[in-house]
């Protein structure tokens, strides 16, 4: 079975130690995490996580079942790719070479990104979108020289009636 990337959404109890439990589970079962995002939901008792991982069908099934065994995990859903929206945020600090400001601003506009800070030597650009778009933007900015960057990892949500609670 081929390895493929997949998305798992989780609703977890919002208290200390939960992130450790989940990341430790991945580590001890030898599952790889590509990215993990977490934030509190509208109900402060719960946080929602999006985990991007890789593996074959066996790994996928085991990840979901092992996560379901954790006391702090309330819901686990392996997200259907075609019914799921993925969004990620990236902040990238690009070297500002003389005469390149307008080109970079135009590039930011093309990626529907925002310039959020400017200094004589650098420009800070915030890009939001699908991970693929972020990769493309990154490749463009790389030519100008990336000083540093930070990505949040994708956050996932099902379309329309495809919700975590009833998925």
């Amino acid at each position: 079975m081929d390895k493929e990337q997949f998305v798992v959404s989780l609703l977890v109890a919002n208290h200390f130690g939960v992130l450790t439990r989940i990341s430790a589970l991945f580590a001890r079962r030898a599952f790889n995490i590509d990215s993990l995002t977490v934030g509190v939901t509208e109900d402060p008792d719960f946080s929602r996580m999006t985990i991007i991982a890789q593996g074959d069908d066996y790994i996928k099934e085991q990840i979901v079942k092992q996560l379901q065994k954790l006391e702090d995990v309330k819901l686990v859903q392996l997200m259907h790719a075609d019914q799921t929206v993925l969004r990620e945020l990236m902040i990238v600090k690009v070297r500002l070479q003389p005469g390149k400001l307008s080109e970079l601003v135009e590039a930011a506009n093309t990626y529907r990104a925002s310039v959020i800070d400017l200094s004589p030597d650098s420009i800070l650009i915030e890009v939001t979108g699908e991970p693929g778009k972020l990769n493309a933007a990154l490749e463009y900015f790389r030519a100008h020289g990336i000083i540093e960057m930070s990505r949040t990892g994708p956050s996932a949500m099902g379309r329309s009636t495809y919700c975590l609670a009833n998925g």
């Binding site: 450790t20 439990r21 085991q62 379901q68 702090d72």
Partner: protein, 554 residues
């Protein structure tokens, strides 16, 4: 009413029906021990010599009673000493609640004296664990801990209570004991499909795991075997689920299984695996294990389905309920040819496995001690050759009478577990088979057995070597006995006497019989040091990741 955290712990223990705990006091559980002093008329506390012994005792207590075992230890070293015991309980799905003290909340995370993040340490070997930082959450957390421990597939839960939380007061409202959460309900269509597959099978084989003991489903399993006309094999953990007197019973299969049991599995066309996780010690070569047969897996834990062995069908639910449901759907089957084949396997000379036919053989030691035991009396073991010999030769007829560290395979398990089992059975006679290697690990608990006047018969199969590793070195490492040929000078008879127990020694069959007669007359701990030839092997043996064609018989 307003009570201290320590007293709330006592109240919740009583609520949950706990009247027996094991443990060891220390600086950060002083308040808990002060309450144990006040509650000593309702909660019996057994102090061991080492926290590991207490954890194994709580585990053994839980295994014989089916009730959660409770162990208490102080912070830091007290807590870390529990870890092997917790891990053993986790592997073998024993319900257990471990209570640890910790430094006051304000000192957490500062590397304070005797501070260890025990919740972090035990995360991989507990079903769940808690650090209670607010006394108002204590009663609820403890109740939840008991519920988690007993629900679904049971397991250990740890509750870490900082010292100031034990001291602080909160309102306490009595509640009744926690009920198990509802088991997952087996799907009708899964049961129908399983019944259909069993009806179509020509050569069915039932593989009984520890889950059958835990679910107390031995009767249902035996009934299914009758209706399906199938032989029964088992894992080590499933060893006491079905009586060895059952004519369908073939014994343990796998690495050190009975020849007939492994052979019948290998010739089957449908494997009905019940309450088991397909341990690598049971399956050997996984592709050979599955080749040529359909696999049906019944278990309460969905994560076990197709984890170690991919199966064709599964039913998730309480195995007792599921087995009864299958029986109700299944018409009586007849497999005369298969039954005859299995009978022939059982008669095969390959089942004769004793190397030495005379002298004080492991088989003789175990069978003769067994002949003096009542069916409802408990047998505990340590880990290694003697454990396999016990599994192979002892005739267990009642569930929960075989207490052994299966999944973790923790040498040193035996003394604590035997003590806990003995106490769990109302201080009735308990037999421990151990070895010079395993016994050396936690022999300190002899003091606990003596202090409590427990009727424990400790049979040490003393061959001077670390037998199982020694055997592997013989078979797979060119006979290079690296650090296993110890031949220590310990005089176990004097040792037993030094602890205040009775010590006996046997070098011949006659001496052993005399020792047994004396030992079984006593109502206090007695140790029999048995001289065993270090050339004795556990046979048959299927080398790791191999199949029945590679079986070593002689």
């Amino acid at each position: 009413m307003q009570l201290s955290g320590a007293e709330i712990l006592m109240k919740v223990l009583l609520e949950q029906g706990v009247d027996t705990v094991f443990g060891y006091p220390g600086g950060n559980v002083l308040n808990i021990y002060d309450e144990l002093y006040h509650y000593s008329d309702r909660i019996a506390h057994y102090i061991t010599c080492h926290e590991q012994g207490a954890a194994h005792a709580a585990d053994g207590y839980a295994r014989v009673t089916g009730k959660p075992g409770v162990v208490i230890a102080t912070s830091g070293p007290g807590a870390t000493n529990l870890v092997t015991g917790i891990a053993s309980a986790y592997f073998d799905s024993t319900p257990m609640v471990a209570i640890t003290g910790n430094v006051p909340v304000a000192l957490l995370g500062r590397d304070s004296f005797q501070e260890v993040d025990i919740a972090g340490v035990t995360m991989p070997v507990t079903k769940h664990n808690y650090i209670v930082k607010d006394v108002n959450r204590l009663a609820h957390t403890l109740r939840e801990a008991f519920q988690v421990a007993i629900s679904g597939r049971p397991g250990p839960v740890l509750v870490d209570i900082p010292k100031d939380v034990q001291i602080a007061s909160a309102e306490y409202e009595p509640q009744s004991a926690q009920q198990k959460r509802p088991d997952p309900a087996a799907r009708e269509e899964d049961i129908a499909r399983a019944a259909e597959a069993i009806a179509q099978a020509k050569r069915p084989y039932i593989y009984c795991g520890g889950g059958v003991v835990i679910a107390e489903a031995g009767e249902e399993l035996a009934r299914l075997a009758d209706i399906a006309d199938a032989p029964i094999g088992c894992s080590m953990m499933g060893r006491s689920a079905v009586s060895a007197d059952n004519p369908r019973y073939l014994g343990m299969m796998g690495m050190h299984g009975r020849y007939a049991s492994t052979k019948a599995l290998n010739e089957s066309d449908l494997l009905i695996a019940v309450g088991t996780r397909f341990s690598d010690r049971a399956t050997g070569d996984k592709s050979e294990f599955s080749r040529g047969r359909k696999l049906l897996h019944i278990d309460i834990d969905p994560a076990e389905i197709s984890k170690n062995i991919g199966v064709d069908m599964s039913i998730i639910g309480n195995v007792k309920v599921v087995l009864a449901a299958i029986c109700a759907r299944l018409a009586q089957q007849r497999h005369e040819e298969w039954t005859a084949e299995v009978a022939a396997m059982r008669e095969s000379r390959d089942n004769d496995i004793s190397m030495c036919q005379s002298g004080l053989t492991p088989e003789f030691i175990i069978e003769r001690a067994g002949s003096r035991m009542r069916p409802d009396e408990t047998v505990a073991t340590d880990v290694g050759q003697h454990q396999m010999w016990t599994t192979l030769y002892y005739r267990f007829t009642r569930p929960r009478t075989f207490i052994t560290s299966g999944g973790l395979g923790a040498m040193g398990f035996g003394m604590g577990a035997a003590i806990g089992s003995c106490i769990g059975r109302g201080k009735k006679r308990t037999l421990l088979f151990t070895s010079d290697g395993s016994f050396h690990m936690n022999l300190n608990e002899l003091a606990t057995a003596v202090t409590n006047g427990l009727p424990l018969v400790i049979v040490v199969l003393n061959n001077g070597v670390l037998g199982m590793v020694y055997q592997w070195q013989d078979l797979f490492f060119g006979g290079r006995h690296s650090n296993t040929a110890l031949f220590r000078k310990t005089d176990f008879v004097k040792l037993a006497e030094a602890f205040g127990a009775k010590g006996l020694r046997a070098e011949t069959r006659e001496e052993y019989e005399t020792c047994l007669a004396e030992a079984f007359r006593m109502q206090t701990p007695v140790l029999i040091d048995c001289a065993v030839d270090c050339a004795e092997r556990v046979l048959p043996m299927i080398p790791p990741n191999k199949g029945i064609s590679d079986i070593i018989l002689k």
